[in-house]
């Protein structure tokens, strides 16, 4: 596809990088030549200097022949206007980043009125992600496939668990629930396990199952951590606001610590059930006073990465809470991942991932391309959902008769909404979506999994 990306900040350039790898023709548009140069120097994409809201600039970028325009500049209005102009010029699809909560309330109307294919709100997406993890507290990470019918959970096996020493092949019989362990991380090693693989405590396992089976598994294997009842959020940002609103109907006690008095009043008006504290969280007495020792979840969502890191480290030390740390600039990912910061939340990555999924789904009107992609272990293992189109070479052949690439696992077959965790006798038919877990890079088509 030919894709125009307007705005090459972090999100824009990450999108360009990933979409370029997936074989699309990319044109990036930005006002600043320096930002543009950085992208065009390292990626095989074309740059156009100019404003995305200028008709002439868009023509220069080739809007007339483009299939998709993604507008991810810092300004909502600019993004919307850019998409509108693009829509009026050509028949391309448009995606806009819109983050203002006020627009968000009327987003369906805006989408329809401006003919947008998708809008994305980074703060809202982030809040949804945190919410999902709060509702399923045992999981370190939850991803969804097949429109939510299949979940991919990352779990930590505690000491003295029933799973300790259990073989993968015994798993479903012993626990009587259908799950598939697709990745095991032990120390620095990553395994895609076979049936004879023995689990042990302190492993990080990734399982694929339907949501009901996933909950069953967590209960039966007693990985279950107590439900989260008390949450402390530091930083009354928009993410905190969305999160609080989404959790409002549950029985969770919410405490938000925010420095700015005006913002506190705003939040208090919006969230009558939450406790809003006007204080500086960097003051450690405040956290102790507000009972950091007794909370079940702690989220540091201030605008400063450094402050979030310190707060989370502090919370880790003084409580047993599940910790969420918002980090926007992930430059030193390798160092950060070694710190006990709990779950790292990066709004920009979340935004990029959502857009990528949409683009992949858009592309698959005939081929056997990617529907969804998640990185299970950063840059080592990926879980991909493929659509099996007419051109797939493995249709109707039992899986055991296929010669797959090494370290590739067919985890799940979704046939018209019916989920199967496949055995060697199962086969793939046209129209199925298939979830593959693999350490191989550069799989862009279902046929790529074959040797």
């Amino acid at each position: 596809m030919k894709i125009i990306i307007v705005g090459c900040g972090k999100v824009g350039s990450t999108l360009a990088e990933q979409l370029d790898k997936e074989g699309h023709d990319i044109v990036v548009v930005d006002k600043k030549s320096a930002a543009l140069k950085k992208v065009t120097d390292s990626l095989d994409v074309m740059g156009v200097i100019g404003s995305g809201t200028s008709h002439r600039t868009l023509l220069e970028a080739g809007i007339e022949t483009a299939d998709l325009l993604i507008s991810v500049t810092g300004s909502d209005e600019l993004n919307l206007l850019c998409c509108l102009i693009a829509r009026k010029t050509s028949r391309c699809h448009t995606i806009a980043r819109v983050r203002n909560p006020q627009y968000n309330e009327e987003i369906e109307f805006i989408k329809e009125g401006l003919g947008l294919s998708m809008t994305i709100n980074p703060e809202l997406e982030t809040a949804v992600e945190i919410e999902r993890l709060i509702r399923l507290p045992s999981a370190i990470k939850v991803e969804t496939f097949a429109k939510g019918k299949v979940e991919l959970l990352k779990l930590h096996i505690p000491e003295h668990s029933v799973l300790d020493g259990m073989k993968i092949s015994e798993l479903s019989d012993t626990l009587r629930c259908k799950v598939l362990v697709c990745v095991v991380e032990r120390g620095n090693n990553v395994y895609i396990p076979s049936g004879g693989f023995e689990l042990s405590s302190n492993d990080l396992i990734s399982i694929i199952a339907s949501p009901q089976n996933a909950i069953d598994f967590v209960h039966k294997s007693r990985i279950l951590v107590n439900d989260i009842k008390n949450i402390m959020i530091v930083g009354g940002s928009t993410i905190a606001e969305y999160l609080a609103l989404r959790l409002a109907d549950s029985n969770i006690n919410l405490k938000i610590i925010e420095q700015n008095l005006e913002r506190c009043e705003e939040l208090s008006e919006l969230l009558p059930d939450a406790i809003i504290i006007n204080a500086n969280a960097a003051d450690r007495d405040v956290l102790i006073e507000e009972g950091i020792e007794d909370i079940d979840a702690f989220a540091s969502l201030t605008n400063l990465d450094e402050e979030n890191i310190i707060l989370s480290l502090y919370a880790k030390k003084h409580s047993k809470a599940k910790i969420f740390t918002k980090i926007t600039r992930l430059t030193y990912e390798d160092i950060i991942s070694e710190m006990p910061l709990g779950i790292i939340i990066n709004p920009k990555f979340i935004t990029t991932d959502s857009i990528l999924q949409h683009v992949r789904a858009m592309q698959n009107c005939g081929g056997s391309g990617i529907e969804a992609l998640y990185r299970i272990v950063s840059n080592k293992v990926e879980a991909l959902e493929f659509y099996a189109g007419k051109n797939a070479k493995l249709l109707g052949i039992p899986l055991e008769a296929l010669s797959l690439k090494p370290n590739t696992l067919v985890c799940c077959i979704n046939r018209n909404g019916e989920i199967t965790i496949p055995t060697g006798k199962d086969y793939i038919l046209e129209g199925d979506t298939v979830i593959i877990v693999t350490t191989n890079k550069g799989l862009y088509d279902l046929n790529d999994i074959l040797l």
Binding site: K2, D25, S33, T40, D41, S42, L43, D44, I49
Partner: protein
């Protein structure tokens, strides 16, 4: 520095050279020339070095502008070193320095020759000489980018380092597609010229070699008289195509897309056309006088488009022109063709921007607080671009002066020395006096020839790759010295 990728690319370049040499080898076979064996030997040598280098996968494919410059400079040098071998092995040019001069002149599309009698050369050799013009015109690395898929966007550094012009832009998002597109346009125009020349009754061999010389804006002729013996129609075709190959290829791309308005909006194109028209007018007036004005237009037009595009063909010996006309030609030598064309020189767009900065500087002297943004084609010129043009200009003059100083050791007259450097640094070919259109460079010493060879490479690659290479060699020697003293 990523050495493995540099050697990998050089390996590929040598393989390509071996492939290209098949054409002159076939030509030699058709004419039954013994010198054809020299090509076979060279092909074997190229593959012997090239294949092992290109088969070894580079350890890392990540590289930056530095590697881009160094690779381009080294590639052009290795191309020339291997490319000179057929002349030398066959004994057609017995001195290796001379052979090297001739082939560098070919690849850099200069067209300066050390041959006193071109017609004595074998056909295979003549074809190889002209073919290097065609390849050198658009660039070998661009050719490589068009045929082998390079992952990642870093290969833009190769294109930037090799393609002429102050800022290199892609035509389409993918580098490979851009390179392919450039070569398609190039090939299309080349074929068109060959057909037009054949219609005009030119023998096939002449049509091929002359077209290669025109397309690459090179200028190797295959007759001692240059282009003078061809018919008026054939000369006119050559005139028009020299002019066309001196235009930025972006324009042709826009024409292909039927964006006529955008295509002719280019400020550089307007300047280029105006300069050509004005020069033809002035020279016709000067050489023909009011009476012979119309008769003088034809040779004047040929010579102007030959010199401004830095081709260097000649139909007349302009040594005998009045001084005013000769000075116009020398000025045209420095201006050169448009950026993004196959021509050499400083490029019209650089000159336009330089003039604009001068005008800007004068106006800010008058109005201290005036703020003015320099624009070309209605777009702001980035400060970085302006700075690099200034630096380019200074480096250009310094290299010119240094070369002139060394060349003057040969004790030729001033015009000869001056225009010899101008003709090689700007990739034109002939200068004035001894090195004029009917003369050649054989009279110079080996030292001068070496300096001129450097000038040709520096001129074609727009100076910076060669300077980057010198800088690298210097720092290597320095660090070597330090380890020795320890």
């Amino acid at each position: 520095m990523n050495k493995s990728i540099i050697f990998y690319i050089i390996g590929w370049i040598l393989n390509i050279e071996a492939a290209l040499m098949i054409f002159p080898a076939i030509c030699a076979l058709i004419y039954g020339e013994k010198s054809g064996f020299a090509f076979l030997i060279t092909i074997a040598a190229c593959l012997l070095i090239g294949l092992p280098l290109s088969l070894r996968k580079p350890k890392s494919r990540i590289f930056f502008a530095k590697e881009g410059y160094i690779t381009v400079a080294l590639c052009w040098m290795s191309l020339s070193i291997m490319g000179a071998l057929p002349f030398f092995i066959s004994g057609q040019i017995p001195n290796y320095i001379d052979a090297l001069f001739e082939i560098i002149s070919g690849f850099t599309t200069t067209g300066s020759s050390i041959l006193t009698d071109v017609e004595a050369m074998d056909y295979g050799m003549l074809l190889w000489r002209s073919l290097t013009h065609w390849i050198g015109g658009m660039g070998v690395l661009v050719f490589l980018l068009a045929i082998i898929p390079m992952s990642g966007g870093e290969s833009i550094h190769f294109m930037r380092a090799e393609s002429p012009g102050p800022s290199v832009e892609k035509l389409v998002p993918r580098i490979r597609a851009t390179a392919l597109l450039l070569y398609k346009i190039y090939l299309g125009m080349t074929l068109l010229q060959i057909v037009l020349l054949l219609i005009g009754g030119m023998p096939l061999f002449d049509a091929l070699t002359i077209t290669f010389g025109t397309a690459g804006t090179g200028g190797f002729a295959i007759k001692n008289t240059g282009i003078a013996d061809y018919t008026r129609y054939q000369q006119t075709v050559i005139t028009i195509f020299m002019f066309l190959f001196g235009i930025n290829f972006n324009v042709y791309y826009l024409l292909l897309l039927r964006k006529f308005k955008d295509a002719f909006k280019s400020e550089e194109l307007k300047w280029y056309v105006s300069i050509v028209a004005a020069s033809i007018f002035l020279i016709s007036l000067n050489t023909g006088g009011p009476k012979g004005f119309f008769a003088a237009i034809h040779p004047a037009a040929f010579q102007v488009s030959s010199i401004i595009t830095t081709t260097g063909f000649a139909t007349v010996d302009f040594n005998y022109w009045p001084t005013f006309s000769k000075v116009i030609l020398v000025i045209l030598m420095f201006i050169g063709a448009c950026a993004g064309s196959t021509g050499g020189g400083m490029k019209v767009s650089r000159i336009v921007i330089l003039i604009k900065t001068v005008r800007h500087e004068v106006s800010s002297l008058m109005h201290k607080r005036s703020v003015r943004v320099l624009k070309i084609d209605g777009k702001k010129i980035e400060n970085e671009t302006i700075r690099s043009i200034h630096v380019f200009f200074v480096a250009y003059i310094l290299i010119f002066a240094a070369s002139l100083l060394i060349v003057s050791l040969d004790n030729q007259d001033f015009t000869t020395s001056f225009t010899a450097v101008a003709a090689t640094l700007n990739n034109i070919g002939p200068g004035l006096e001894t090195v004029g259109p009917m003369g050649n460079f054989s009279a110079f010493s080996n030292l001068t020839k070496t300096v001129l060879m450097f000038d040709m490479l520096a001129g074609r690659l727009e100076i910076f790759p060669m300077l980057a290479l010198i800088n690298l060699v210097k720092s290597k020697i320095m660090s070597h010295k330090i380890t020795l003293t320890r």
